[in-house]
Amino acid sequence: MKAISLIIDNQKVSAQEGDILLWVALKNGFYIPNVCALKERAVPFAGCRLCFVEIEGYPEPVTACTETIREGMVVKTKTATVQKLQRAAFELILSTHHVNCGHCGKNKKCELQKIALHLKVRLRSKRFRLIPKNLPLDESHPLFTYDPDKCVLCGRCVWLCREQQKVGTLNFAYRGFEMLVTTFGDSLAGVANCTQCRKCVDACPVGALLFKEEQLIREEHNA
């Protein structure tokens, strides 16, 4: 593999030919919001639409998770256009996310908190109408809990479970606003084929999947 160099936010960065821009940027300390990208995944999902950047010579912003780097590429991660796109995508995610950080086991480790800080957007943003799912917390699995109200549908767990682990316990189901990450028959209890590999919980960027030991008492669920 050949070493090549590119410019990110006016700084010279070197990386390997064939690397994906998002990982190169993150590794070199340039934060780009993202929730759906997975290093293991050869074909990116590109579903969260958070990782936009501008690249010189390109007519419009592109998603960093789908972009292979090239020699001499000039990348900007914080232009006004980029941030406008990122904010819109982020606030749309927030409009279906049950924000309750104080009682969430992911507090201070949540990707959404990190993104909010980066984009200077309030987590309780009122820009879009809130569409809460109001579904119950599922505590039936021995290892972890699943809170559909927190899920941002990034698809990481689904891909790991189905494509990497070849298990297929977690899947997307239903459609449109009703779309959910769920299991057969909508209950974690019936998960006969779960191998307890823990990958889904490790990959969850938010507080939707949490190990029971991480879970804090949430008096205010659905409050």
């Binding site: 189905r162 297929g168 239903y174 459609r175 028959g185 084929n193």
Partner: protein, 175 residues
């Protein structure tokens, strides 16, 4: 959401499904045709049927559940005795079909696609029924009700209730 079925039912369903699956080869692309065949046979897709299909196609039950729930044409509970179809086609939508839908939901205490506990009523949304001049339209069983309003919902419920009482009475008398 699919309904768990009891064991006698389960065996019956299993038999039917094995019979039905004989017409298909065990390849992924047959998933939807199989689901359609199941629904034609049972009027809905029982949970047991999804499991059998999963084993037959060697796809995880969860993935099949995901595919099946994506499509509006599939239902997972037996339809109600009176199946209420609220039209939310373009004309009915503009004439406030969603208000009518809300009223049914409120009165029956079920969601779209749901069935009441006594299995008397099922609720679903449909596209254009074909009589837009009457918008908003609701079809209950085979009967089309035009120019719907929330109070008419009440009327229809009352009618069904009276019909049921009548039925129970004659039933009791003949016994």
């Amino acid at each position: 959401m699919t309904e768990p079925t009891n064991t006698i039912e389960e065996e019956k369903i299993q038999k039917e499904i094995h019979k039905l699956l004989q017409d298909f080869s065990s390849t992924r692309e047959n998933l939807i045709p199989i689901l359609q065949a199941i629904q034609t046979t049972f009027g809905f897709i029982p949970q047991e049927a999804l499991r059998e299909t999963a084993a037959f196609l060697k796809i995880s039950p969860g993935e099949i559940f995901g595919v099946a729930t994506f499509y509006n044409q599939f239902r997972f509970t037996p339809p109600g005795k009176h199946q209420v179809k609220v039209c939310l086609g373009t004309a009915c939508h503009i004439r406030g079909g969603d208000i009518i839908m809300e009223e049914w939901k409120r009165r029956l205490q079920i969601k779209e696609g749901g069935v009441t506990e006594d299995h008397e009523f099922g609720l679903e949304r449909v596209g254009c029924v074909g009589c837009c001049v009457l918008a908003p339209v609701v079809q209950v069983g085979d009967i089309v009700h035009g120019k719907m309003s929330p109070s008419v919902v009440n009327g229809i419920l009352l009618q069904c209730e009276l019909a049921k009482r009548e039925e129970d009475k004659t039933h009791n008398e003949t016994e």
